[in-house]
Amino acid sequence: MAITEDAPPGTDARRPGPPPDAPGRRLSSPLVLVLTLLLAVLAQSPIRGALGTPAMQSWMTVFVAVTVQALPFLVLGVLLSAAIAVFVPASFFARALPSRPALAVPVAGIAGAVLPGCECASVPVAGALVRRGVTPAAALAFLLSAPAINPVVLTATAVAFPGHPEMVLGRFAASLLVACAMGWLWQRLGRTDWLRPPAHGAHEGATTGEAFWGAVRHDVMHAGGFLVLGAMAAATLKAAVPADWLGTAAGLPLVSVLALAVLAVLLSICSEADAFVAASLTQFSPTAKLVFLVVGPMIDLKLFAMQAGTFGRSFALRFAPATFALAIAGAVLTGAVLL
């Protein structure tokens, strides 16, 4: 890839910035884009040569695969979130959700069951809910439950674990439990200033159409960039972590639970597919597999990047570790009761 060097420190900072409308002083972004594309096309054979080693190739394949797999669901979520932002009046949510936040959290958590998709869709939708005045605790419960308890994902889980309906039930119960617990925890301890203020509001666009497409454009560019970042991290870890470590970890109960929880975060697999991967980890106990299924849709590298992009970094840095810990606890608890 083309590597752009940073300007030497200090040279830019001292000079007064060019007036915003001065032409030619600053590289405009369309120009940079054209130059990047042109450079990449011209240098394609050296680039191909550098990427020709098997390790680099499999990195590229996994990177492209994660991005291509997630983009349709991201677009679906972005369309839904733009529709919520533009067509659904804020008063609708005020009427639909109980006014007491403590009650709104479980209602929003169960409402997650109607969003058919994976975690890439739920981040922009939850962002739109917050901007639409839904109490953050309820929107976060929705964010966490939607990717795990919708019918598509539960069906995939049932297919991956034939003859083990308790796995589907366990996934549903544990995910809902953890989502509600996180919602209530946010309501008790969360501070609004951790959340980034709404990135774009209703001011954009005079007409409904302009506002709708403006929201779609903004969310795709924004969440898409973070998705790419997450996909790069996931591909790197997939290429770097040897698979035989898992065999060693499977023997010890506590280690196996932690190992699969960390693996769920690192692999960043789409929640529609993670059940099949869990089923293939045959050396591990059912509880460890349940932990994998509960942690993965709630927090992984790709999601962390997207949450940081939508809700702000100071939010993601607090929210992600809490989700991780609670998800493990909830899944182990459910596993002890059900499995």
């Binding site: 405009s28 499999s58 454009r217 997939k238 045959t282």
Partner: protein
Amino acid sequence: MNRQAQAAVLFLLGGALLHAGATDLALRYVKADLRPLLMASGAVLVAAAVATAWYERGRAGAGHAHPEPRISWLLVLPLLALILIAPPALGSYSALRSGTALQKPYALAPLPGGDPVPLSVVDYASRAAYDHGRSLHGRPVRVTGFLALDHAGRPYLVRMALNCCAADAQPVKIALTGELPPVLRPDAWLEVTGAYTPRLTRDPVNDGPIPYLRVTSARPVPVPPDPYDETWNN
């Protein structure tokens, strides 16, 4: 990135998704089921690009009050990767790094007709490893997959099984013995005809079973349109 550049990136990304979805390119990375969704999302992205350019047209120069963050530039990377490089489907490198994903089948379907019997890598491996080849009735079989050579040079015939996308692809391996071509190149696709042999080995990565196939003839074949085994788990 200002709005014009965003429109260009959205348009190119949408176009790349439409192209990948309409051709076999997408099958290197995702399941065939995703293709309609890929094309639909590509169309939405192109529409978003056209809408952005349309609404931008009236306000030349005045409308860049809210430039998008730098992170948006990362979207250029998958675009370049898809258009310029189009990385190949996962091959022997990934196959040797992960253990065989063969699992005990719930039931074995009746053997298809034909002589030799056409079987998938997964189908032969599960009949050989978990049924001691009984359901093969001693008939010759024909299996297609790509070659992988371990560090000792032992040849395996592999097919990657896909659950969702290439990130979760897992190999299913058959060890080859018998009459093999003199020169074996990793990642080359072979159509192998042979017979069951009771020999079984263990995958060094996860201790999974790898059954042997005694090869009587092998011929190189082109890469199939869908390099992955999608029947897995369906």
